[in-house]
Amino acid sequence: MSSLPGLKEDCEELLGAFQQADTVRFERFAELWRERRFHTIFYGRIRALERNKITKKTLDLARQYFFPPYSFQIRVGALYLLYGLYNAQLCQPKQKIRIALKDWPEIQKFHLDLLDSQHYDAAYIFRRLRLARAFHFTAMPKLLTYRTKKKIEENYFKEEFKDPSNRVNSLITNDVLEELMNVHDHYQKMKCVISADKSQPDKALSLIKDDFVVNLKDITLEHQEWQQSRMKLFRNAKVTPETENKKKEETWLESEGPERASALARIKYKSYSAVVEVSKSRRHRQVQLESSESGPSCGKSPGRSKKASRTPQPARRGSSEVRGEMQVAEETVTRHIGMPVITEEDSDEGEVSLPKRRR
């Protein structure tokens, strides 16, 4: 990215304006694009080799906005942006947009959301790109050359583009809670097993608060409820003006205004809750767990016990915020693995886990 000065700013400016417009209509996006004459982004006396490189990097940059953690609307904007950039490029043959296999489910989900909420223009443009064979279906988003970077690029995300409230949800998903409870259960059982009195753990082993998990669950639930009620307020406040705007914009689709708006809101909401679902990294880890069953420390109940003894991965938590969205899945893994450690830390200070994680 460093070799393309200004491009990030330009893309974010365009997407920001699109966000301001508070719509997902392509017509509006095209207006904004034309205002800025965005297709001239590839202009200038550049030779073919350089042009290929620049184009690749440009598409690579735009593609990043097409994935979470960005909000539904920004992702639609990114889709339009990719469509525009892909077709405006001057390379012959055209440079392609790289899509990694692990990101495809995310795109499929996004596509379904588009269809469900009848955002025909976005769905149509996605279809156009696929038919134009604008994608390279790859193993990884970038070429990997095993070159350790001397200067680690700060890959920050523009806060305003993100879904504002999904942090807690993505950290403490229902699955994590469930798993946490299982781990806790198992932890207690293990303690019982090694204690003198088999029915109750030794006092000396009482290192964490027993009700920690339950408390965490309650707090999370409370937070979720608070958020939902806030969302409702937000939606109710918005529906009326939005409908008016939309009606003007969408006459060509002849769709009912309020229906649209609520569908949009539903989708927006969906994209919040979407993150809460099981990430694929978890599935992967499940496999690992089962395969590590044969370990000697397993004791009675298989599978689960390994988790507690699993050594935490090298600490990445500090940098996790700024890394690429591709890492979201991996980060989750890191957190999961580190989980037992966190539990212990937190218990020393009481139930401070939420603010601490929120950063």
Partner: protein, 380 residues
Amino acid sequence: MAAMAAEPAVPDYESAELYTRAFRVGALGFGWRQLLGPPDLSLAEEEEEDADLAVAAALDCAPATAAELRAVCSIDMLMSSEKEEDPDVIPEDSSLLTLRMRKKALERREETIIVDRACRQETLTFEMESHASGKRPDNPTDLIEEGELLLTLNIFYPVIFQKHKDHKPYQTVLVLGSQNLTELRDSISCVSDLQIGGEFSSQPDQAPEHISKDLYKSAFFYFEGIFYNDRRYPECRDLSRTIIEWSESHDRGYENLQSVKMEDYVFNDLSLKIGFPYLYCHQGNCEHIIIITDIRLIHHDDCLDRNLYPLLVKKHWLCTRKCFVCKMYTARWVTNRDTLAPEDPCFFCDVCFRMLHYDAEGNKLGEFLAYPYVDPGIFN
């Protein structure tokens, strides 16, 4: 390793942004092919016509809406409707930061540059990169199948010059998932294959008969704990045996090293990590680091002639050592203790070497030892 067991592999980072977990190459192709439909995989020359009815069916909307979509979402909506523009010229009043900065950079360049044209190396790089793109075979049977995997490999030269301390020179090769490892092995050109051993001052014509490639045919690739040995010829030896014995003889921390035959494996069978350094070793100890930088499905803009793979798309330009006499041609001979030469060792091209050191009948003149010399830049 868990990903290996699963049917379609979804590669993910093992070390963030650096390399992936190990997965089976073929499983990646399988995974993609399961997810994508024929239009995505199609290698047909022409883009598919998108009829309104098809759109309507796909999006579950009325055909009239589809027609409307075609108009509203047309790419013309994004292009300026005004007069023809010259893409070389950056518009004066652009609001785009990228363009303003690029304009400044280009202007600065214009002031300082003397000759404004692509240098030879740039032309070469571009040519190499694009010479085969979109090429289709004359014979339809050589057409690559849809859904085939394309691997990008960086093969490094075993050079340890000081000037390459930071950026090791390498060549980039594209291979197909269905290709045999031996096909890659045969396509890797390295000077150590062309070395000619021995002293030939008395019979310079016999030198070419002793090329190392024909004498020492053993080689292996190393991927994820498995040595893939070339055993196609009876004289091939298992070069990996010493390494395996070495690792087993003491507790070296490398367990379960295996040795298999290279010719039995295609790339789809391999299990590897993208971005992780592996090894190609030939001529006993000529070691090339190999990094698989990318694996993706073949695209209709790629070279689709199976026979052109493994396809070299990038190589490093190495300096060549020139003949001491004509200073023009690449050196082919090196002499020691040469009474006719001012230096020891001294390099000659074939013509100059023979002119200086032999008379018209081919008799040796003066005292010298002559060795064939193979320049690393010979593949430029």
